[in-house]
C-alpha cells in the first residue's frame, strides 16, 4: 500500500491580491454576522453625523427597536423555513389571523392571558397547516403560501367585519411595556441557541443546501421541516401578540403585505432566500432594524417619505449585490 500526500500549491501572503483577500474574509465563519452588522453601524454613524448627534439618543434608538420588533420577530421565525430553501410569504396573514382569534378570545372571556395563549397556538396551528400541505401533498411551500394567504385573509375579513375588534387599550399598553422586550428576547435567545448550538439549525442548513445528501446522511427532512415550521409558528404567533398589544385592536387589513416586508428584512440582513450553508437566525432581525434605521434616519435628515422608498430600494439592491455569492471556481458542469 502506498501513501501519497502532496504539498498544497498556494500563494504566499505577499502574493495575495485584493480579490483573494476578500475571498478569504468572505469564507470566514463570522462574516455573515459581521457584514450586515457593519452595514448597520455604518448607517447609524452616517445618520449621527448628518443629524449632528440627534440620531444617537435613547428615545430614537428605543423607537427604532420598538418599530423593528414585530417584523424582526417574524423574520427570526421565518429564518427556520428559509434555511431549508423554502419560502413562506403567508406569515403576515398568519400573524393577522392569529391576532384576530386572540382578540375574539378577549371579547369572549376578557382574559389577556388567554389572548396570549390563543394567539400563540393559532400561529403554530396555521403554520403547521402550511407545513402539512407541503409535506403530505408534496406541494412547493411557495405555492402553499400563496393559497394560504388568500384563505387566511378571507377568514380575517369575515371574522373582523367592517369595524376593528377592540381589546382593552389601557391593558395593552400596561402589558406592552416590559412584556414585549422579555417575550422577544426570550424567543430570540431560544432561537439563537437552538439554531446555532444544536443539531436543529445544522440539519436545516444541510437540507437547504442539498436535500439528497442530507437524506443520505440520515437526516429526516420531514421531521426537520416540521421543527422549522413549529418554531416559525411560535414566532409568528408571538408577533401577533405584539401586534395586538401595540394597537389594542385588529382591523381587516392586519398583517397584509407583511410577508414581503419580512422577506426584505431577511435578505437585507444578509440571508439568502435559497437557504443552505450560509443561513442564520439573526439576519432577519438585523435586517428589520436596518430598514427601520433607514426610514427613521432619512426622516430626521428631512428626506421625503417618497424619496426614502427609492433610496431604500437602491440600498437594498446594493446590499444584496455585495452579499451575494459569486462563483470563484469553475461554473457548475451541469450548466453545459
Amino acid at each position: 500500500m502506498i501513501r501519497i500526500a502532496k504539498k498544497e500549491k498556494q500563494k504566499t501572503p505577499s502574493q495575495l491580491g485584493i480579490g483573494d483577500r476578500i475571498e478569504i474574509i468572505k469564507s470566514k465563519r463570522g462574516f455573515s454576522l459581521i457584514f450586515p452588522l457593519s452595514m448597520l453601524l455604518l448607517l447609524v454613524t452616517l445618520f449621527v453625523i448628518l443629524t449632528g448627534g440627534d440620531f444617537f439618543t435613547l428615545n430614537v434608538i428605543k423607537g427604532i427597536f420598538n418599530q423593528s420588533l414585530i417584523v424582526g420577530t417574524m423574520a427570526t421565525a421565518v429564518s427556520f423555513i428559509y434555511t431549508t430553501g423554502n419560502v413562506d410569504i403567508s406569515v403576515g396573514n398568519v400573524m393577522g389571523l392569529s391576532a384576530v382569534f386572540g382578540a375574539l378570545s378577549y371579547r369572549a372571556t376578557g382574559s389577556m392571558v388567554l389572548v396570549i395563549i390563543v394567539t400563540l397556538l393559532c400561529g403554530v396551528l396555521f403554520m403547521m397547516c402550511n407545513c402539512a400541505l407541503g409535506i403530505v401533498f408534496h406541494i412547493k411551500s411557495a405555492m402553499v403560501a400563496i393559497v394560504a394567504m388568500s384563505v387566511y385573509n378571507a377568514f380575517t375579513e369575515v371574522l373582523v367585519g367592517p369595524d376593528p375588534i377592540q381589546v382593552d387599550y389601557r391593558l395593552c399598553k400596561q402589558l406592552e411595556g416590559n412584556f414585549r422586550y422579555i417575550a422577544f428576547l426570550l424567543y430570540f435567545g431560544t432561537c439563537l441557541l437552538l439554531y446555532h448550538k444544536t443539531a436543529i439549525g445544522r440539519k436545516l442548513r444541510f437540507i437547504g443546501g442539498n436535500a439528497l445528501c442530507a437524506n443520505q446522511t440520515g437526516i429526516n427532512s420531514a421531521k426537520s421541516k416540521i421543527t422549522a415550521y413549529l418554531f416559525a409558528g411560535i414566532g409568528v404567533g408571538l408577533a401577533g401578540v405584539l401586534q395586538l398589544l401595540r394597537t389594542g385592536n385588529v382591523a381587516q387589513s392586519v398583517g397584509t403585505g407583511m410577508g414581503v416586508d419580512v422577506m426584505l428584512a431577511t435578505v437585507l440582513g444578509g440571508m439568502s432566500i435559497f437557504g443552505g450553508a450560509k443561513s442564520n437566525v439573526y439576519a432577519g432581525f438585523i435586517g428589520a432594524v436596518t430598514v427601520t434605521t433607514l426610514n427613521k434616519g432619512f426622516l430626521m435628515v428631512g428626506v421625503s417619505s417618497t424619496l426614502i422608498q427609492g433610496v431604500r430600494a437602491i440600498i437594498f439592491l446594493l446590499l444584496v449585490f455585495m452579499n451575494s455569492e459569486r462563483q470563484a471556481t469553475l461554473p457548475s458542469r451541469q450548466q453545459f
Binding site: 502506498i2 501519497i4 480579490g19 478569504i24 444541510f206 440520515g218 450553508a277 451541469q334
Partner: protein, 508 residues
C-alpha cells in the same frame, strides 16, 4: 487546406488562479492537427482548467492563446463552439427536461426557424441523423432526455458536440460514464477526427486507455507541465512517477488473504425493488470486503441503495442481524451504524456550498454534543480537523467551501465524514470514480484499514481490477440477480468474471 501536424492551438504562459490557489502556472503547449493529445495528471493538476479556458468556459488570469494562427480569447463557451471547439465534460452536460433533439441543438434553434416557428420535424430528422452519425440508433430524438440513463445521456452529449463538426474535439474524463460499447463509439470518433486532420484532446485517469488512444501525451502536476511525450516513449512507470512526483513503490491493491469472520452483520432476504431487483439475497460478514460487479445496467447500484434504505423494498427485508433492526430508511441505517457513499459524489454525497468542516461534522451531531442537546464547538472542530489532517485534504482551513476542492479532495471529504462517523458497515458505490491514481491508492489503503479494524464494506464498482484487487468475496450480477459468487482465496479469473457479467456463466 489544413495540413497534418499544423499547429491548431497554442497556449503561452497561461496562468489561472482560483482565489489563493494556483490552478495553472505559466503553462505553454501546442496542439497539432491530426493528433490525439492525451492530458494526464492527478486531480487538481490543471487538465480540465486548460481545456475549459480554450473552450471559453472560463477565462485565464494571464497568458496568451492562439487558435488557427490568430489570437484567441473566447468570452463564452458558445463563441468557442461557433469557432469549432467542441468539449464533452465529465459530468452531465444535458438538460433532463428537454427532448433529445432540443439538447442536441441547444442554443442553435435558429437554424430550424421558419418565420416565427421552429420546424420541429426537421429538427427531429437532423437529431436522428446526428445520433446515427456517431453510431447510436436506440435513442429517440423526440423523447425527454431525463428518461435515458447516464450513459445514453452522455452519448446524446457526444452527438451534440459532433453535430458542429469541431476542429478541436476535447474529451474530458468522459469514459468513466460509458460502458465498453459507449467507449468504443467515443474512441472511433476520436480517431476519425484525428484522421480527418482535426485535433483531439483526451483527458482520462485511466493510464492504459490514455496510452492506447493518444499519439502524444502531456503530463501535468500542480498546474505545471512536467513533460510532453510521444507514443514511442510511453512507459507506465515513468508516466506515473511524473504525475505523482515520486516513484510509486509498494502495491496498489491489497495482497493478503486475511479472510473475514463468520458472523453475519447485514442480510438482505429476498428483496424486490420497484425496478431492478427481484428476490435478491445477500449476506455481509464482519470484517469482509464484499465486491459487487457487473455491467452498468445489472442492478448493482440498486443493491447499494436498497441496502441503505434509499430505494423502496416492496417485498423481502434488509436486516441488521445483530441488532435485529429492519432497514427501511437512510435515517434508520445511519442510526444503526451504516454509511453510504454515492457514485454521484457532487449531487448526493456532498453539500458543495458548505464548508469542509460542515460536511464532515454532518455525521457527528450526536457525537459532538457537550451539555445536553448542545453541540460543543471544541469537539466539533476536533472531529473535523482530525479527518482533514489524517486524510491530508488539501485546503486552507476547514471553513473552505467544498466546491473549491478538486475531485480527489472532495472524495476525501466524503470518506472523512464516514470515517469520522466510525460506521460499522460502509456501502461504497464507485468510490474511486473520477479520482486520480494517487488518491485511488489512498482510498484502497483506507478501505483495507477499515477491514482490519473489523468494519464491513460493500464495494460496488464498474472496474474489474479494483473489485479483484480489494474484495474478499465477489458477486457478479446480471439483470438484477447474482449470476456468480467468487472467493478471493480461490483466486479471481477475469475471463470467468466477464463471462458471468455478459451471459451469466452459461458457457461455463
Amino acid at each position: 487546406m489544413a495540413h497534418n501536424g499544423e499547429i491548431l492551438v497554442e497556449v503561452k504562459d497561461l496562468c489561472k488562479n482560483f482565489g489563493v490557489t494556483v490552478a495553472l502556472n505559466q503553462v505553454s503547449m501546442v496542439i497539432r492537427r491530426g493528433e490525439v493529445r492525451g492530458l494526464i495528471g492527478e486531480n487538481g493538476s490543471g487538465k480540465s482548467t486548460i481545456t475549459s479556458i480554450i473552450a471559453g468556459i472560463q477565462q485565464a488570469t494571464s497568458g496568451e492563446m492562439f487558435y488557427q494562427g490568430k489570437a484567441w480569447k473566447p468570452q463564452t463557451s458558445l463563441a468557442a463552439v461557433h469557432a469549432g471547439i467542441g468539449i464533452i465534460v465529465q459530468e452531465m452536460g444535458t438538460i433532463p427536461s428537454l427532448t433529445v433533439a432540443e439538447n442536441i441543438f441547444l442554443g442553435d434553434y435558429d437554424r430550424f426557424r421558419v418565420g416565427p416557428v421552429i420546424n420541429r420535424r426537421k429538427m427531429m430528422a437532423e437529431a436522428r441523423q446526428a445520433l446515427e452519425d456517431i453510431g447510436v440508433n436506440d435513442i429517440d430524438p423526440a423523447a425527454i432526455t431525463g428518461r435515458y440513463n447516464m450513459e445514453q445521456r452522455k452519448l446524446i452529449e457526444i452527438a451534440k458536440t459532433m453535430v458542429n463538426h469541431p476542429e478541436i474535439f476535447v474529451v474530458d474524463e468522459t469514459t468513466t460514464a460509458l460502458s465498453e460499447k459507449g467507449r468504443e463509439i467515443l474512441y472511433r470518433l476520436m480517431h476519425k477526427a484525428a484522421a480527418e486532420n482535426k485535433a483531439v484532446v483526451f483527458i482520462s485517469h485511466d493510464l492504459d486507455e490514455i496510452m492506447k488512444h493518444s499519439d502524444t501525451l502531456t503530463i501535468l502536476r500542480d498546474g505545471n507541465i512536467i513533460d510532453h511525450m510521444v507514443k514511442e516513449d510511453f512507459e507506465p512507470g515513468s508516466i506515473k512517477q511524473k504525475m505523482i512526483g515520486r516513484e510509486i513503490t509498494g502495491q496498489y491493491y491489497r495482497d493478503d488473504m486475511d479472510g473475514y469472520d463468520d458472523e453475519v452483520l447485514l442480510r438482505a432476504e429476498h428483496i424486490t425493488t420497484m425496478r431492478e431487483l427481484l428476490c435478491f439475497d445477500l449476506e455481509l460478514h464482519k470484517g469482509e470486503i464484499l465486491g459487487i460487479g457487473g455491467l452498468s445496467e445489472c442492478g448493482m447500484h440498486a443493491v447499494g441503495r436498497a441496502l441503505y434504505g434509499l430505494e423502496e423494498v416492496v417485498s423481502g427485508q434488509v436486516v441488521l442481524t445483530q441488532k435485529q433492526v429492519k432497514i427501511t430508511t437512510p435515517e434508520v441505517a445511519f442510526k444503526y451504524g451504516m454509511g453510504y457513499v454515492s457514485k454521484n459524489r457532487d449531487t448526493e454525497s456532498l453539500e458543495l456550498n458548505a464548508s469542509i468542516g460542515a460536511n464532515i461534522s454532518s455525521t457527528g451531531y450526536d457525537k459532538n454534543r457537550g451539555l445536553g442537546i448542545f453541540i460543543s464547538n471544541r469537539k466539533e472542530r476536533r472531529y473535523e480537523q482530525l479527518q482533514v489532517d489524517s486524510l491530508a485534504i488539501k485546503c486552507m482551513n476547514t471553513f473552505q467551501p467544498v466546491r473549491t476542492l478538486s475531485g480527489g479532495n472532495k472524495q476525501k471529504v466524503v470518506f472523512g465524514k464516514w470515517l469520522a462517523a466510525d460506521a460499522d458497515i460502509l456501502i461504497l458505490d464507485c468510490p474511486t470514480r473520477g479520482v486520480d491514481i494517487g488518491v485511488k491508492a489512498y482510498m484502497y489503503q483506507l478501505i483495507y484499514e477499515m477491514k482490519k479494524q473489523g468494519k464491513s464494506i460493500i464495494l460496488i464498482s464498474e472496474e474489474l481490477p479494483e473489485l479483484c484487487g480489494m474484495s474478499d468475496r465477489l458477486l457478479i450480477m446480471r439483470n438484477g440477480k447474482v449470476t456468480g459468487e467468487f472467493m478471493r482465496t480461490q483466486g479471481f479469473s477475469h475471463n470467468d468474471l466477464i463471462n458471468y457479467m455478459i451471459v451469466g456463466g452459461e458457457n461455463q
